[in-house]
């Protein structure tokens, strides 16, 4: 008997693609995530496979992320981005020759890493999805999807057809881009409400994830707390988050990423170097941005100006130590649970993938070391959702409670004074989309079909939970407000044009070029017939 550790990495970014701009600051989110998270994770998985280390985890690649990773223009922009970083690292190697030894050591490491990242990207011809799939083919990784544009379903359920379209398009997008049926679905923000399992079952989704209190406050108390999967009345398996794992990793006081030896996020040469020197590597409009080259460590609770220099070797040792610590904690927890429940416990540990690497720079290394440590344990092993499910003889039937993984566990992150203005518009657009799709269900005119599909795209883009989230957190709010308004107003324009039989093909063409998400969109998903 061994406890099962199920690491679930939720890889997601909102759809940000501005083909009409040669440079767009927010597109850097994707480029930073590729450089610091996705490629480092792929490299870590490849090393584990090469060394014959058994490991298992699940990862969601959300449809907006899949769409961006497959987009040629964004791939080209990424090449330009990473090439520019290599160039900056070369300059840094030169510049740091006359500076502290640790800085120079770091600069050399950055140059090697960025060059490695560029080589990796080129060797797979920019197709990271295929690389993830190759890992999946070894059986160690299980890829899952997410609802279409990461729409927040608990606040969409007043329009059931819109929820249906999100779930169905989330399945379809994965099938198109990953070329396989997704077995599981990550619900945006872990947002679940009773009844949603029916939509998932209809799309042949076998499992999804919820936060702990979805089971704690379920209609019937779960016999094994959150430590065994349950099944919903519509026969979809549910994995619930283990609160201990999240806390061990992320606790403000005791969590790993705050260790003094780790890299400090907020000291970046983009802000530290003289403007004339750094100009070619920041926003062409002259705004300083994070470049990804950082020389300082967390140090402790001290002002940014007094941070000490980062030592990559020390950071690596620390990541190793933390992985060992976490692995031991999971082994102890497994033993404790096995004694209590007398059946193999399942410890589900879901995280935002981008926190590993982007925020916690050493995160991907930590994960690699963790899998190496766990592979040697007698009491716990890492696993994947399907491997766990396939070994079960019986399962408790439970209706999970309405819940999310947002602050305080419910909807307030996505519904508060900062963002409540969006819902009257989004709900109205959803109602109108259903009206259009139902009325034009049998449309044959290609122009109408294109316009209707474009309406569905604009609506889904407006529905992304990311915009409401950003409005709450207060960073880059204007961008989020603007995206919400832009998609809604494009929707309303198209709606009026279709109703008035006055579709402007050229305007439509422009919209199709600017928001090319889901070329395989099917507006009929919204039909109420």
């Amino acid at each position: 008997m061994k406890g099962k550790l199920l690491v679930m990495l939720h890889a997601h970014l909102p759809y940000i693609n501005h083909p009409d701009h040669p440079y767009f600051m927010e597109e850097n989110w994707l480029f930073e995530a590729i450089t610091e998270t996705y490629i480092p994770l792929l490299m870590a998985f490849n090393r584990l496979i090469k060394d014959n280390i058994p490991f298992g985890l699940s990862m969601s690649l959300t449809p907006p992320l899949l769409e961006m990773l497959s987009n040629q223009t964004l791939q080209d922009k990424y090449r330009k981005y990473i090439t520019s970083l290599v160039d900056l690292a070369k300059k840094e190697v030169e510049a740091t020759q006359k500076e502290e030894g640790l800085k120079h050591k770091c600069a050399l490491k950055y140059l090697e890493d960025f060059q490695g990242t560029l080589d990796f990207f080129e060797s797979c011809k920019g197709n990271l999805i295929t690389e993830f799939k190759k890992i999946e083919d070894t059986g160690s990784l299980e890829l899952i999807t997410c609802n279409a544009t990461h729409g927040f379903l608990p606040l969409m359920k007043v329009n059931p057809q819109a929820v249906h379209a999100q779930v169905a398009m989330g399945t379809k997008a994965f099938e198109e881009r990953v070329q396989e049926h997704p077995k599981g679905m990550w619900l945006a923000e872990c947002g679940y409400y009773p009844g949603l399992d029916k939509e998932l079952a209809d799309q042949n989704i076998d499992f999804f994830f919820v936060d702990s209190h979805a089971l704690w406050y379920a209609d019937i108390p779960p016999k094994y707390d959150v430590y065994r999967p349950v099944i919903t009345p519509n026969h979809v398996f549910v994995f619930a988050r283990d609160p201990e794992s999240s806390e061990q990793v992320w606790s403000a006081q005791f969590g790993y990423p705050g260790d003094p030896n780790y890299r400090e996020f907020y000291r970046d040469v983009g802000f530290d170097r003289p403007i004339d020197y750094i100009k070619p590597y920041i926003d062409p409009a002259g705004n300083r941005i994070n470049t990804g080259i950082k020389y300082y460590k967390v140090t402790g609770n001290v002002p940014l100006g007094t941070k000490e220099l980062y030592d990559p070797d020390k950071a690596l040792e620390t990541a190793k130590r933390h992985a060992k610590d976490f692995s031991q904690k999971k082994a102890e927890q497994s033993q404790r649970l096995m004694n209590a429940i007398e059946i193999e416990p399942v410890i589900t540990a879901p995280f935002d993938a981008e926190l590993y690497g982007h925020w916690w720079y050493e995160g991907p290394m930590f994960l690699e070391f963790l899998f190496r440590e766990v592979a040697n344990s007698n009491t716990v092993e890492s696993s994947t959702p399907h491997k766990i499910i396939s070994k079960m003889d019986s399962v408790q039937v439970v209706t999970p409670a309405m819940s999310t993984w947002g602050a305080n566990g419910y909807n307030e992150t996505w519904l508060n004074g900062a963002n409540d203005w969006i819902y009257p518009h989004i709900h109205e657009a959803e109602t109108r989309m259903v009206e259009l799709a139902t009325q034009y269900e049998d449309a044959t005119d290609p122009l109408y079909i294109r316009a209707l599909n474009m309406c569905a795209r604009e609506l889904m883009l407006a529905e992304s939970s990311d915009w409401a989230f950003i409005m709450t957190t207060g960073t880059t709010v204007e961008y989020a407000v603007n995206r919400t308004k832009t998609h809604l107003s494009r929707f309303l324009e198209l709606y009026e044009a279709i109703k008035a039989h006055n579709i402007n093909e050229r305007a439509l063409e422009l919209d199709e070029w600017i928001d090319p998400i889901f070329p395989y969109m099917n507006y009929k998903l919204y039909s109420s017939n």
Partner: protein, 287 residues
């Protein structure tokens, strides 16, 4: 953005597009200036079907098309659209070509960060929508048709009634409990604190006439999420080999859970909160 073109080709293109100062630009700058110019023009093309022939001529000139004086409106539209399609292709399939590591030209382009877009203030439809915020709060928003607005003209305030209808088929009068709030006539949304988690609520909005509540609209059913565990009872299980369901008496909790109490530091912008979600954004910019 240069699609592997030589600097001479780029200069020629910039000249045709009437880009100021193209002659002194470096290759990268040319590429970016051309791409920006094309985007501007591409946006103008939306109105092409409504342009008069004079406007079309000057538009053609702007995009660097040489058209015969005898060209008709159709010729012009066709030529311009063709040009636009070829740009689009360039953009979609552009060969990475010579990757330059420099974005050196400072751009003043307006990235439309200040939103000028205005969404409708009303959709002129009767609608009262309730959304659960958490176990003890519900958000309501509403909108009125012209007809309803007419009725409300005679009144100075709105009245929102919230009914606890848990396990009830609500008929307007049989609620367990009824709550009432009065608010300004132009209010469009409200947050209401309700007494019970895991309960069903319905709201009505209307006005008061001689102390009698006159409802105008009724909301959807809102269920507040539960916030505490249910008592142990019969458990339902499924045999995964036979798909047979069976019941079992609950044997009580095998795992003792230590629950957390909410304390301070619930400030949403704190980057160290344990909630799993989304640090990416807060950390992307320096705030």
């Amino acid at each position: 953005m240069d699609g592997g073109k030589t600097i001479r080709q780029l200069k020629k293109e910039a000249m045709q597009l009437k880009i100021k100062g193209y002659y002194n630009m470096r290759k990268v700058e040319l590429g970016e200036a051309i791409s920006r110019r094309k985007t501007e023009l591409a946006k103008m093309i939306r109105d092409i079907d409504n342009m008069r022939i004079g406007q079309l001529r000057s538009f053609a000139k702007k995009v660097g098309l040489k058209m015969s004086r005898r060209a008709t409106k159709t010729d012009l539209v066709e030529a311009i659209s063709k040009m636009f399609s070829s740009w689009k292709k360039e953009n979609e399939r552009k060969i990475p070509g010579q990757i330059t590591s420099s974005f050196s030209m400072p751009s003043n382009e307006n990235k439309e960060t200040k939103s000028k877009i205005e969404l409708p203030k009303t959709y002129k439809k009767d609608k009262l929508v309730g959304l659960e915020v958490n176990p003890s709060w519900i958000h309501f928003y509403w909108d009125f048709s012209e007809k309803t607005k007419e009725i409300l003209k005679a009144h100075s305030s709105l009245v929102l009634r919230v009914y606890d209808v848990t396990y009830i088929e609500f008929n307007g009068t049989n609620a367990h409990r009824t709550f009432e709030m009065e608010m300004g006539i132009s209010t469009q949304k409200y947050y209401v604190q309700v007494p019970q988690p895991n309960a069903d609520y319905i709201a009505e909005i209307g006005y008061k006439e001689r102390n009698k509540f006159v409802p105008l609209l009724r909301s959807n059913l809102v269920t507040t999420p539960p916030s505490s565990p249910k008592l142990a009872q019969m458990e339902l299980w499924m045999d995964l080999r036979t798909y047979q369901r069976f019941s079992e008496m609950s044997s009580g909790k095998a795992v003792t859970r230590i629950e957390r109490l909410v304390g301070i530091s619930s400030i949403p912008s704190s980057p160290s909160k344990i909630s799993g979600r989304g640090s990416f954004f807060w950390l992307s910019g320096r705030s």
